[in-house]
C-alpha cells in the first residue's frame, strides 16, 4: 500500500494544520458541518494523526471528508494551533489525485464543481458567471433571479456594470491575453492536471454505474451527482 501519510505530509496545509491533537472537541463544538452532518472534525484529526494508512485510505474514500464547508471556524479556537479545515483540504486534494473521490457520493460531486466553477474560471476568468447560474440549477435563487436574467442587459447597465465590455468594470470581458495567462498558470501548476484527473476517474465511475456522461452538464451522470442525496448524511 502507498504511504498515504507521507503523501499528505507533502501538502503545506497539512504541515500547517496538524500538530498533536488532544481530542478536546473545541473544533467540533463550533463546526457547522458537525452540527448538520454526521461529521466530527476531531475524529478526522485523530484518525489522521495515528498515521495508519489503512484508516487514511478509508477516510479518503468516504463521505466524511466532504462535509466540511471550509469556514475555518476551527482554526480560531484550537488550543493546539491545529486547523482541521486545512487538513481536510489536504485530504480532499489527495483523494482526487488518487481517484478515491469517486468512491463516495459526496466525493463524486467534484465533477459537478469542476464542470461549473472550474469551467467558468478558464472560460471567463470568474468563479461564477451570470449566465451559468440559472434557476434550473438554482431554484432557490427565486423569482427575482428570473427577472434579473430576463433583464440583465438593462439592469446591469443601470448598476454601472460593463458586462462583456472592454476595459475595467463589473463582469467585463477579460482580455484574451489575460485568459491565456490563466490557462498557462493552470497548465504549469497542476490545475489542468487536477481537472483531467477529476474527468478521468469520473468517466470511469460513470461507466461502472452504467450512466451516460458526455461533455457539459446536460447528462445523466452530472444530474445524478448534482442531485443525489441518500439521506444518510445527517441524523
Amino acid at each position: 500500500m502507498e504511504d498515504l501519510y507521507s503523501m499528505l505530509m507533502q501538502d503545506v496545509r497539512f504541515e500547517e494544520g496538524l500538530n498533536a491533537c488532544m481530542n478536546c472537541g473545541v473544533c467540533t463544538a463550533i463546526c457547522p458541518a458537525a452540527e448538520f452532518y454526521d461529521y466530527d472534525p476531531r475524529q478526522i484529526i485523530d484518525t489522521v494523526q495515528a498515521a495508519n494508512n489503512t484508516e487514511i485510505e478509508k477516510l479518503l474514500k468516504s463521505d466524511s471528508i466532504w462535509y466540511c464547508g471550509e469556514c475555518m471556524s476551527c482554526k480560531t479556537r484550537c488550543p493546539r494551533g491545529n486547523a482541521p479545515g486545512l487538513v481536510i483540504m489536504a485530504l480532499r486534494g489527495l483523494s482526487q489525485d488518487l481517484g478515491y473521490f469517486v468512491e463516495s457520493e459526496k466525493g463524486r460531486q467534484q465533477l459537478a464543481l469542476k464542470r461549473t466553477v472550474g469551467q467558468w474560471i478558464l472560460d471567463y476568468g470568474y468563479c461564477l458567471y451570470l449566465e451559468g447560474v440559472g434557476t434550473n440549477l438554482h431554484p432557490e435563487q427565486g423569482p427575482v433571479w428570473d427577472w434579473i436574467q430576463d433583464n440583465w442587459k438593462e439592469l446591469f447597465n443601470k448598476m454601472g456594470a460593463n458586462y462583456k465590455g472592454d476595459g475595467p468594470g463589473i463582469l467585463r470581458k477579460i482580455p484574451k491575453e489575460a485568459m491565456d495567462e490563466i490557462r498557462s498558470i493552470f497548465e504549469e501548476t497542476g490545475g489542468i492536471a487536477r481537472y483531467e484527473t477529476i474527468e478521468k476517474f469520473s468517466r470511469k465511475k460513470a461507466e461502472e454505474l452504467n450512466m451516460v456522461l458526455d461533455d457539459g452538464i446536460d447528462n445523466e451522470y452530472f444530474r445524478h451527482i448534482y442531485k443525489t442525496n441518500n439521506g444518510k448524511h445527517t441524523r
Partner: protein, 340 residues
C-alpha cells in the same frame, strides 16, 4: 549562623522559606509587592481537598512571618539581583539596595487574565466569572447572578488559560481541576437545587484525596461532568449564558444555557518574576516559569550559586507542594552557606 538571606516574594513559598530560615537563626528580609504578605491564598475561602477554611492556613502563615529575624518590606519589588563574589545585592523598587549572602526567589504566579480568552466573554457578559470571583462569593455565602437571582445552573470551564497555545500557555496548571470539583460541591451545598456542570478535557486528580473528592462529587453531590473544551459563550435574550461544547463521549456538539459560568483560571509566570529573571539573567523554561538546574533533583537550584527557587515561580503547585518546596529551598540555601 549570622547570615542574611533575601526572600523575593511574600506568598506561601516566601513566607514558609523565611520562617524556616528565621527559626534556624538566620536574618531574613522578605520583599512583597502587595500591601500585605500572604499571597493569592488570602483571597480564597476554602481549600481542597478537605475544604478547610483558607483562613487556617493564612493564620499559620501570618504567625510564621512574625519573627524577630524577619524584616518584611511590602509594596516593593526586586528589580535585579547582582552577584558580587560570595555575596549579593538586590535592587529594590523603592530605590534601596539590600546585601545578602543568599537569595531565594519566590515570586509566585499570576492568575491568568480571563479576558484574554475572548470567546468566553469575561468582562463582557455579566454572568461569566472566574474561580477567584466565586471564592469571594463563597466568603459572603451568597452565590447569585449579576441580576441578584439564585442560579439554577452553573458551569465550570476547566483549562482557562492552561494547555492552550492560543494564549501562550502550554502547561497544565494542575490545581484547577480539583478546585472546580471543590467549588462544584460547595455550590451544591449552598444551592441544592442548582445543577452543576464541569466541562473538562482530563480530570487531573493528582494529589492525595483528590480522586476521592471527585468521586464524592458524583456520588453524593450529583455533579455533572461533560468531556469537552468549551468553544464559546454568548449572551442570550433572557440574560443567561449559552455555551457550546462537544460532548466528546457522545461524539456530538452540545449546547446549553447557564446562569453563571465560572472560568477556572490557571497559573502563569508572574510578570514581576519575568522582569526579575530577565534583569538578573535567570533562565526561564518553555512556559516562562523559572528553569531549575535539574528537573528531578535540583528543582530549587537556579544554576547560579547562592540563588534558589521556591514554589510556583518554577511551576504550578498546590499549597502542600509549595510548602515542601520552600523548605527544600531552605535546605539548599543552608548547604550552600555552609559549604562556602
Amino acid at each position: 549562623m549570622d547570615k542574611h538571606v533575601v526572600v523575593i516574594g511574600g506568598g506561601v513559598a516566601g513566607i514558609e522559606a523565611a520562617g524556616t530560615l528565621a527559626e534556624m537563626g538566620l536574618r531574613v528580609s522578605v520583599i512583597e509587592k502587595e500591601e500585605e504578605a500572604g499571597g493569592h491564598i488570602t483571597g480564597w475561602h476554602a481549600l481542597f481537598p478537605d475544604r478547610r477554611p483558607a483562613k487556617e492556613v493564612t493564620e499559620y502563615l501570618r504567625h510564621r512571618i512574625r519573627h524577630n529575624n524577619i524584616t518584611l518590606i511590602t509594596k516593593a519589588t526586586v528589580e535585579r539581583i547582582n552577584h558580587h563574589g560570595h555575596s549579593f545585592s538586590v535592587n529594590v523598587s523603592d530605590g534601596t539596595s539590600l546585601n545578602a549572602d543568599a537569595v531565594i526567589v519566590a515570586t509566585g504566579f499570576d492568575l491568568f487574565d480571563a479576558r484574554r480568552k475572548e470567546e468566553y466573554g469575561y468582562g463582557i457578559y455579566d454572568d461569566v466569572i472566574t474561580s477567584a470571583d466565586l471564592e469571594i462569593m463563597f466568603a459572603s455565602n451568597k452565590v447569585l447572578t449579576s441580576a441578584g437571582k439564585v442560579p439554577s445552573r452553573i458551569g465550570f470551564v476547566h483549562c482557562v488559560g492552561s494547555r492552550d497555545e492560543k494564549v501562550n500557555n502550554n502547561h497544565c496548571s494542575k490545581v484547577c481541576c480539583v478546585t472546580a470539583v471543590k467549588q462544584a460541591i460547595e455550590v451544591r451545598e449552598i444551592l441544592p437545587d442548582c445543577e452543576v456542570f464541569c466541562f473538562y478535557m482530563d480530570m487531573r486528580m493528582f494529589g492525595p484525596l483528590y480522586e476521592e473528592l471527585y468521586r464524592e462529587s458524583q456520588e453524593k453531590y450529583n455533579v455533572n461532568y461533560i468531556r469537552g473544551k468549551v468553544s464559546e459563550a454568548s449572551s442570550t435574550i433572557n440574560g443567561r449564558v449559552s455555551v457550546r461544547v462537544e460532548d466528546t463521549l457522545a461524539g456530538r456538539p452540545l449546547k446549553m444555557e447557564i446562569d453563571l459560568l465560572v472560568l477556572m483560571v490557571g497559573m502563569e509566570m508572574s510578570k514581576t518574576g519575568e522582569r526579575l529573571a530577565e534583569a538578573s539573567g535567570l533562565s526561564t523554561g518553555v512556559n516562562r516559569f523559572l528553569k531549575s538546574a535539574d528537573h528531578h533533583y535540583g528543582s530549587n537550584e537556579s544554576g547560579k550559586k547562592g540563588i534558589f527557587y521556591a514554589g510556583t515561580c518554577t511551576a504550578p503547585m498546590n499549597i502542600t507542594d509549595t510548602i515542601s518546596h520552600a523548605r527544600a529551598a531552605v535546605t539548599e540555601t543552608i548547604n550552600y552557606l555552609n559549604s562556602r
